[in-house]
């Protein structure tokens, strides 16, 4: 079915159309939520709330740009908002000052299993994880991240640098093993 028609049916309150929309994007969006959530249960909550907001805000979609990108943005924003509400953005891991930042000579594998990568990202301290997801996977600039998270651009860069170092160390350890 034409996506435009599907969206119009959803706007008219057609529950079957809404279900079709859900089935089309649920798997990709759940993967997005998994990257931000501290656990699977939270990811399910993010996905549920995210789709509610998609249906609620559907009237504001102007059919400009990718609809998938629009939905993904809502999922990311919903995840961040729910993280803040749950106070999960509290960062309790002490900064490990013994790990130097980004050794240029460290080998980084060209590819890695996505599930393994996801598992590593989920293990990341939440502050690192948020900035890393936004910069590395969603491809936001540090300026955009600073607006989203309401932090300075410098803070976004330093958080990403630390996240990158953290991930690089674990990827290299796995490669050696």
């Amino acid at each position: 079915m034409d996506e435009k028609q599907l969206l119009k049916d959803c706007l008219n309150g057609d529950v079957h159309a809404q279900k079709r929309l859900y089935e089309k994007y649920a798997r990709k969006m759940f993967a997005v939520c998994l990257r931000y959530a501290p656990d699977s249960r939270s990811a399910e909550d993010f996905l549920q709330e995210g789709f509610i907001r998609v249906y609620t805000k559907l009237g504001s979609y102007k059919f400009q740009g990718s609809f998938e990108g629009w939905v993904r943005k809502i999922m990311v924003n919903t995840s961040l908002e729910m993280l803040r509400k749950k106070d999960v953005l509290r960062y309790s891991v002490e900064l490990d000052t013994t790990i130097p930042l980004s050794d240029e000579n460290e080998d980084v594998p060209e590819q890695t299993n996505p599930e393994h990568l996801l598992a590593l990202i989920k293990d990341m301290p939440v502050g690192f994880r948020t900035v890393f997801n936004l910069f590395a996977v969603e491809d936001y600039s540090h300026k955009e991240i600073s607006n989203i998270l309401q932090i300075s651009e410098g803070t976004s860069k330093s958080q990403y640098a630390r996240a990158r170092t953290w991930l690089q160390k674990r990827l290299c350890e796995k490669s050696e093993n």
Binding site: A26, F30, S92, I121, V137, Q150
Partner: protein, 427 residues
């Protein structure tokens, strides 16, 4: 560095940007159920808003409708003393030469003591006439006959204006009368007067008042977990300030202390008397909040983050007079206050070796509204009949804190509240 950075980023982007995962099977059912629940809530919410608006409009209209001003001034009575005489034909006629009219004011204590016997006794004592004692009719009636059924005979003229001072009723009546009185007639009339006074009391003026006050709660310095920004007990909305502090301090691990400034509230309250002891109040309140966070010193460097936020609010409440004396009164009050943040500013000062080495500040906007309930007991000290000082102590309970940026109210929902000010009766 740039190449390494790109490798990690490329790895993450290529591996995860199109990654998919299966959600739970019941996820759609959950979404459908929540969607249905939300629609019901939206309907109830809109209905509540409509009902609230209707109630507010109704209240507003009832306040604007002028009260019954064409009422009897029950503090004045018009004393008419007449004497009837028997003429040569044996008929009872009014002795026009012996009609005395006087309008006097009476105080509440006077009214309490009014009795036929008292007036009769004094009248007889002060009776200076040397006319022979005869049966006479005394009419005592309120100034404005139009408000009540006439208590006197048609011969009585009661349209006199008065500016008599407040004096003892008994003596005034006695002085107004130059003739002895008929005790039975006087008793009947006084009883009718007392009954009418009770009716009049219900129709007394609905007065307006204006109060200007200053309120505050104690300031606090917080080092305990329960009151600091990183506590799980806090409830606030992340704004630019708290997000910045969170990221710069490893999510509050490096915060040394948090100090909340003394909140300052200025209010202008309009009150309308609904009944003898009840007043409805509304107006405007302006509140200033602020806090300061000091980070731990590292390499002789520390930061101080400060913010100031300003609220404008509308209170709506009632005040009940528990004790109401001439010079002193005690009251209880309960009000609901809706506040909106109208302005905010955040500051970030950097200190190195105790010296300020950097400073930046930005204005911020505040979303959402703050709701609170204020309960208090206060006392009025009347300086003049229309002006009084008041002092009030109580507590204020804050709601919807999660919609507001971090402030002293995020630290704890309930705070003691102290107010003092000037109250002016407008009419």
């Amino acid at each position: 560095m740039q190449e390494k950075k790109d490798k990690i980023k490329d790895l993450a982007y290529n591996g995860l940007s199109q990654f998919e995962a299966d959600p739970p099977e019941d996820m759609w059912a959950r979404i459908e159920q929540q969607s249905r629940r939300r629609k019901n809530l939206i309907f109830i919410y809109r209905l509540s808003i409509a009902a609230t608006v209707l109630i507010m409009v109704g209240l507003g209209i009832s306040l604007l409708i002028p009260g019954n001003t064409s009422i009897i001034n029950r503090n004045q009575i018009h004393v008419v003393a007449k004497r009837t005489i028997t003429n040569d034909s044996g008929d009872q006629v009014t002795d026009n030469a012996a009609i005395d009219k006087k309008t006097i004011r009476i105080t509440q204590s006077d009214k309490d003591q009014i009795s036929a016997k008292n007036i009769l006794t004094d009248t007889r004592k002060l009776n200076k006439t040397d006319r022979p004692a005869e049966k006479d009719i005394v009419s005592i009636e309120p100034e404005k006959e139009t408000e009540i059924i006439s208590l006197v005979t048609s011969e009585t003229d009661i349209n006199e204006e008065t500016s008599a001072p407040i004096i003892s009723t008994e003596i005034a009546v006695a002085q107004a009368l130059s003739v002895p009185v008929n005790e039975d007639s006087l008793s009947r009339i006084l009883q009718q007067q007392a009954a009418q006074s009770r009716v009049d009391e219900k129709q007394e003026n609905r007065s307006w008042g204006l109060a200007m006050g200053y309120g505050t709660t104690p300031s606090i310095e917080l080092t305990q977990e329960d009151y600091a920004m990183n506590s799980g007990n806090t409830s606030f909305s992340y704004d630019e300030m708290s997000s910045g502090v969170a990221n710069e301090t490893s999510y509050f691990d490096e915060v040394e202390n948090t100090t909340h400034n003394t909140p300052i509230t200025l209010g202008l309250i309009l009150s309308r008397q609904l009944a003898k002891k009840w007043n409805l109040e509304t107006g405007l309140v302006y509140t200033q909040l602020g806090y300061q966070i000091k980070t731990s010193e590292l390499n002789q460097t520390y930061h101080i983050y400060r913010n100031e936020i300003y609220y404008l609010g509308i209170p709506l409440g009632v005040r009940f007079g528990i004790i109401d004396r001439k010079r002193f009164g005690i009251y209880a009050s309960q009000s609901l206050i809706i506040e909106k943040g109208i302005a905010g500013r955040i500051y970030n000062d950097t200190y190195n070796q105790g010296q300020l080495t950097g400073s930046e500040n930005n204005s911020v906007s505040i979303r959402g509204i703050q709701l609170s309930s204020l309960t208090g007991i206060g006392a009025d000290l009347r300086i003049t009949p229309k002006i009084s000082f008041y002092g009030q102590a109580g507590f204020q309970l804050f709601f919807l804190n999660a919609s507001q940026p971090y402030n002293i109210r995020s630290a704890r929902m309930t705070w003691p509240s102290f107010q003092a000010g000037l109250r002016i009766r407008l009419n």
